[in-house]
Amino acid sequence: MTLGYLIYKLILVIIVFAVTLLIAMYSTYAERKVAGFLQDRLGPNRAGPFGILQPVADAVKLFMKEEMIPSVSNKTLFIIAPGLSLLTACMTGVVIPWGTSLNLFGENYSLQVTDLNIGILYLFGVVSIGVYGIMIGGWASNNKYSLLGAVRASSQMISYEVAMGLSIIALIITTGTLSVGQIAAQQSGWHWNILVQPLGALIFIVCAFAETNRAPFDLPECEQELVGGYHTEYSSMKMGFYLFAEYINMFISSAVISTFYFGGYNMPFIGRFIQSPNLLAICGVVFLFAKIFFGIFFFMWVRWTIPRFRYDQLMNLGWKMLIPLSILNLVLTCTWMMRHEIFNALFK
C-alpha cells in the first residue's frame, strides 16, 4: 500500500469515471443519430459539425431550465433521489476489467480498478440498490402518478433481477469463480462464454434490457400514455440526472455483457500478430470498447425496432417465461457439470 499505488488507483478510477460520463453523454447523441438512421432522417445536425456539440447544448439547456420542487413534497429525499440513481449507475465500473495489465517502468499496472473475489455479487448488489433512486424519487414527488410509476418501475426491476440472478448462477457454475477479472481471463481465444451458455446469455441480455428500463421494457418512463413515470415531477438537471443514469446503465450493461459472455478484452488470433504485452493490453482495451459500442448500438437498434410491451405481457414474460427458462438452464448446466458422477452412479 504505497503512495504510488494509491495514486495509480485514483487515476484509474478518475479515468473510468470520466470515460463513463463521456460515453453516456455521447450515447444521447448516438441514440438520436441511430433513430434518424433507422427512420430515414438526419437526426441532430445543427450544433457543430454533424451536430457533435448536441450533448453540450442539451446539458446547457437542462441547466438553464427552471427548477421546480413540488411544494408539499419531501424536499431532502426529492433532491437525494436522482443523485442516488446516478451514484449507483457509476459504482459498477470499478469491478469491470477494462484490459489485462500494462507494464510500465518495471511495474505491473492492472487495468481493473479492483478484482474483488465476489465481483459478480458486488455488481448484483449495486444493481439491486439501484431501485431506491427510483422508488424514493417517485414517493417524494407526492404525486399519485409518480408513485404508481415508481411502483411499476421497481416491480419490473425486482422481477427481472430473479431471472438475471439465476442465469448468473449458471455462469458461475461453469466458470467456477465469482471474480469478474478471472471470468474475463478464462475466455481467451475462442472460449467465449456465450458458446458455453447460449441460453443463459440470452436470458441475461433480456434482463439487462429490463433492468436498464430500455425499450421494449421502458414502461417506467414512457411518455404520455402512462403519464410519464417516477420522474413526472422532476425538471431541469434532476430530470437530466435520471436520464443520464439510464445511459450510464446502458454503457455498464454493455460492458458487463461483453465481459461475461463475449470474451471481454479477448479477441481470437490476436496473439499471432502482436507480441508485445503492452500493445496487446492496449488492443484488448480497444476490443472491449468495440464490443461495448456494438452493445450500445444493439440497445438502440432494439429500441427503434420493437414496440413496447403491455405491462401484463412484461410480467408474464418475466415470471412465466424467463424464470422457468433460467431454472431449466441451471438444471442443464448442473447436469452437464456432474455428467461423470451421474454416469458413474448409473452405469457402474
Binding site: 465476489i118 422508488m135 408513485l147
Partner: protein
C-alpha cells in the same frame, strides 16, 4: 489500526441509524434508515473478512426485503391522520414492560462469565470457498431442511394471496 477506527465509526453509524429507525416520525424515513443500518452492518462483515456475507446481506436485505417493505409502506401512505391513537395507559404499560426487560437483561449479563473461545477464530471462514464447504459439506442436512422451511413459507404465502380456493 485503521480497522479499529473503522469499526468504531461503523458501530457509531449503525447505532445512530438504528435509533433513527425508531425515532423518526415518518415510516418511510424509518425504512430508509433501516437500509442505511444494514449497509453499516455489511461494512462490519467486510471488516471480519466475510465479503460474501456482506454482499449477500446487501443483496437480500437492502436490495430485496426492504424494497418490498418500502413498497407496502408507500402504497399504504401512512401518516399522522391515519395512525391509530394510543391511550396513555398503553404507553405507560409499554414503558414499564420494556424497562423490566432492560433490568432482566442487565442483571443476566452482569452475572455472566466472559466467553471462553473453544475453537480458534478462523479469519477466512467468511470467504466463499470456506463458507461453501461449511454449508454444503459439514452442515448439508440442516441447510437443505431450512430450504424446505422457506418453500413451505412461500407456498403458504401463495395460498393466502389467492382470493378463492377452488
Amino acid at each position: 489500526m485503521i480497522t479499529t477506527y473503522l469499526f468504531y465509526f461503523l458501530s457509531f453509524l449503525a447505532i445512530m441509524f438504528a435509533l433513527m429507525v425508531v425515532l423518526s416520525k415518518n415510516p418511510v424515513h424509518s425504512v430508509l434508515y433501516l437500509v442505511l443500518a444494514f449497509f453499516t452492518i455489511a461494512g462490519h462483515y467486510v471488516l471480519l473478512n466475510a465479503q460474501f456475507l456482506a454482499a449477500v446481506h446487501v443483496i437480500v436485505y437492502a436490495g430485496a426485503i426492504m424494497v418490498l417493505f418500502l413498497f407496502v409502506i408507500m402504497l399504504l401512505n401512512l401518516n399522522k391522520e391515519t395512525e391509530p391513537h394510543k391511550s396513555v395507559w398503553l404507553k405507560a404499560s409499554a414503558a414499564v414492560a420494556s424497562g423490566l426487560l432492560l433490568v432482566v437483561l442487565v442483571g443476566s449479563l452482569k452475572g455472566a462469565e466472559t466467553i471462553v473461545q473453544v475453537n480458534a477464530f478462523n479469519p477466512n471462514i467468511g470467504l466463499i470457498e470456506n463458507l461453501g464447504q461449511t454449508l454444503f459439506h459439514d452442515f448439508l442436512l440442516p441447510f437443505e431442511v431450512s430450504s424446505i422451511l422457506l418453500l413451505a413459507a412461500m407456498v403458504g404465502a401463495v395460498m393466502l394471496g389467492k382470493r378463492s380456493i377452488k
